[in-house]
Symmetry: C2
Subunit: 492 residues, 2 copies
């Protein structure tokens, strides 16, 4: 036996009480605030100062130090619960989901295997069935696998696609193709970087990515896909997978999934949809139509830590055909995989998951769904998409702003473009504005490159944000822009 207060339940309770007091105040704070951007070396010193030297294992928890750490953690972080947070696709969480993570991290039941995490494995099955109500696949025929982020979900799906079309490559490797036509992936220009990364990782190579033409709304032009595929074949490429997005990271565009599915079916391609951001719209009766055709995709990814408002990360990877979900990874590992599936292993995801040890990712989402039902998700998503439409309308009323697209979800990109300037705006004008806004610490927005030019980008993730906040943001952008033009800004 080893005695140390660190292992005691009493320390646990004291730590919770200390932490919850801070978190409660944090969640009650509705002020409009962005980021308190801190110099890393100053923060390094502050954090180092909170570390103590060697510790007497029998002395009690140092609540004072813990409190100071929590305070620093909260103050220096991105303020996802503030109406001033409009910059990224992760969210202020529904607080109960964070409490569920406390349970998960205390009882520590990794969920790849049924025997280690029985309820999480069952909850995965339940959520797969619940969410399939909005997809519409034949019950029991499809599969859902939880994984650690959409980059991993996209990689896994592309791997399943590669192995489905070229089953020998898992063992023989791509070098065995020996100068024959090269495996390739077709995707839209605005697909997430994890797709092109996956081409590099999987041995396909970035040069074997076929970029599909976009329309003005930055959606894939389905009528241009066949020509692109023919051109690719002419260059010796064998496209096996077509990747759509719903919606894209830069502007939240939804590719036309139905027409893409038609092409994929006719050409014998695997259709994967990166719906990390947009799949949550499925739970809304009003917005589901944006994903029309998703039931014809072979696979799609869905980040619940985006618009289902659970803590990062909780990614769901769906396969239309359950059998294909077993094709991504294949090997033998006796200490984990049962040779013969039994009633237990039928419920577990080890053979379909990249991870061996995996957090019980589903639990936050399931508990929210169990206690609150679908409506809070649907209502919040509808509110955020409506807010983006309202913001677009407001932009249209401002002569000194230029909207770059019609928002399809909760992302809106635009530029501050005042007319009649005495001299042209500097080349990094939008970046300089964004940095100035960030530094001012009242709003947090992002930037994006569209066709080689930088724009400002807001992502509405918070139901506390309203059009009043957006108008305040525009005023702050104007002030920042004027300061930049006046040369008052040293920092680009």
């Amino acid at each position: 036996m080893l005695e140390a207060t660190a292992f005691d339940a009493a320390s646990f309770r004291r730590a919770v009480e200390c932490v919850v007091a801070r978190l409660d105040a944090y969640l009650r704070d509705c002020s409009t605030r962005g980021l308190a951007l801190t110099d890393p070396s100053a923060l390094l010193d502050a954090a180092r100062a909170l570390m103590r030297g060697e510790h007497d294992p029998l002395s009690p928890l140092d609540e004072h130090k813990l409190d100071a750490i929590v305070d620093l953690y909260i103050r220096t972080g991105i303020q996802v619960h503030s109406p001033g947070f409009m910059g990224r696709q992760f969210s202020g969480v529904i607080p109960l989901a964070a409490v569920v993570d406390l349970i998960g991290s205390t009882v520590n039941q990794p969920s790849s295997f049924y025997e280690a995490a029985q309820l999480p494995n069952v909850a995965e099955r339940i959520m797969a069935e619940e969410l399939n109500r909005f997809i519409g696949w034949t019950p029991g025929r499809s599969a859902m696998v939880t994984t650690s982020g959409a980059s991993l979900a996209n990689l896994t799906a592309l791997l399943a696609a590669r192995n489905d079309r070229f089953p020998q490559l898992w063992s023989e490797g791509l070098a065995s193709l020996g100068g024959e036509a090269r495996p390739a992936i077709a995707m839209g220009e605005d697909a997430h970087y994890s797709i092109s990364r996956a081409a590099g990782i999987l041995g396909i190579g970035g040069e074997q990515i076929v970029r599909l033409p976009m329309n003005r709304q930055r959606q894939i032009r389905a009528d241009g896909v066949r020509a692109a595929l023919r051109a690719a074949a002419g260059r010796g490429l064998r496209v096996f997978c077509l990747v759509g997005s719903a919606g894209t990271t830069p502007v939240g565009a939804f590719d036309p999934i139905g027409p893409l599915a038609t092409v994929a079916e006719e050409e014998g391609l695997w259709l994967h949809v990166d719906a990390a951001h947009g799949a949550s719209l499925l739970v809304s009766d009003r917005l589901r139509h944006k994903l029309h055709g998703i039931e014809r995709a072979d696979s799609f990814s869905w980040d619940a830590h985006k618009m289902m408002f659970v803590p990062a990360m909780c990614t769901l990877l769906f396969y239309r055909d359950k059998e294909k979900s077993y094709g991504a990874f294949r090997q033998d590992a006796s200490y984990v995989f049962e040779r013969e599936p039994d009633a237990y292993s039928a419920f577990e995801s080890a053979a379909q998951s990249f991870e061996c040890t995996k957090r019980p990712l589903i639990m936050g989402l399931w508990v929210l769904w169990a206690l609150y039902g679908r409506s809070i998700f649907a209502k919040k998503i509808e509110y955020l998409c409506r807010l983006a439409a309202d913001a677009r309308r407001i932009l249209g009323e401002q002569p000194d702003f230029e909207a770059l697209h019609e928002p399809e979800a909760n992302i809106l990109c635009f530029r501050y473009a005042p007319v009649n300037l005495r001299k042209p705006a500097p080349p990094d004008f939008q970046v300089a504005i964004r940095n100035r806004i960030r530094r001012a610490g009242r709003f947090f927005i992002s930037k994006v490159d569209l066709d080689g030019e930088t724009a400002l980008r807001v992502v509405f993730m918070n139901h506390r944000t309203d059009t009043g906040h957006f108008r305040m943001l525009l005023d702050e952008i104007r002030a920042a822009g004027r300061a930049v033009l006046a040369g008052a800004d040293g920092d680009a």
Copy 2:
């Protein structure tokens, strides 16, 4: 604005109080217990019964339902905090680390980018420096990246190795090699399945894995590596990476890292060490020698959710040469990557991490380290390794048990092998025993295949477990074995 009690701080506080009452009782329970293995369909019904239908968004949190969910979650899970838990390499956590996850999940600061999670990024830098005290690299020259599990860390390291040796493959793909010599990886027979999986994923192919000979202790025989490499070259393979383990998953064997490093240096190979399980021994002055030579590895992985006792997952990937850590992934994505690194981006891991959104994985470990220092880790690890040695000695005193190796860390494999049986034991004797133990619900142990035969396996992860519990386990194995031999066991 959208009103719903689900978003309120008051609901958060009520949920925490409800949950903490259960978790406190759970952590106080020192009883010896294994798994309450439940039929999945019965659990499915129980979980479904806890879901309510549509919810009035203004009604308060249903604490009764939440309490029932927590109770079910705890009861049906693997009992990592019980002395009866001896089956897997994840651990009963140091409770404060779970509380830190509550903070992380509430404030939701994904940590790939400095601006989103300033303190986590700084804490990564601090822990890299703290842990490097036990590795010994020149300060500032190496890199540490957090990632979601050792499977991902191993994949990332192998990718960095592949891209280092064959830089053109990221763009051109492996098919471009066109029948030339094929890239290959050399590893021990007992390397974790994520290594051979990585060969499949990266397009190298499982056939390009060179399996290195082992000694009786199931360590790689360093004196056999060169011959294996020559034979591989003769088959047209270009081995670019040598993978050692410290320790292996089946028996916890530590490959001889120093001698492997010598071969790797002479042959121009990347040396990666999968030290997911064993790297934690570095923090112990008594046990560090097991990893002698680790400072000569190009990369190694370290699961803090194993023997640093934080919740799954917290994996650290170390690179000796910081520059090489940027070689795993390369592409452009304007909305996340700055074109020019600045004081902030120098602290962030987005370019080195597989994940785009990533949990602030380091925070539990850093807070424990800050408040408790190194000693609780070192003492607990030393206790667990000593317990394995004691258990080995106890086994040696039992004529009806057969130990299969000398434990090098906290893993011990053995068989129940009673002599003078009237008829031979059935072929699945050890599996039947293991399943019977699992069903009895007092101890949780695992099984492992060694050279095609199944053995029992214990992993000591809990300081509450002592030799008395191990003796009780042996008695229970005897009783289970007798019952199996008597044919009282229908379930293999």
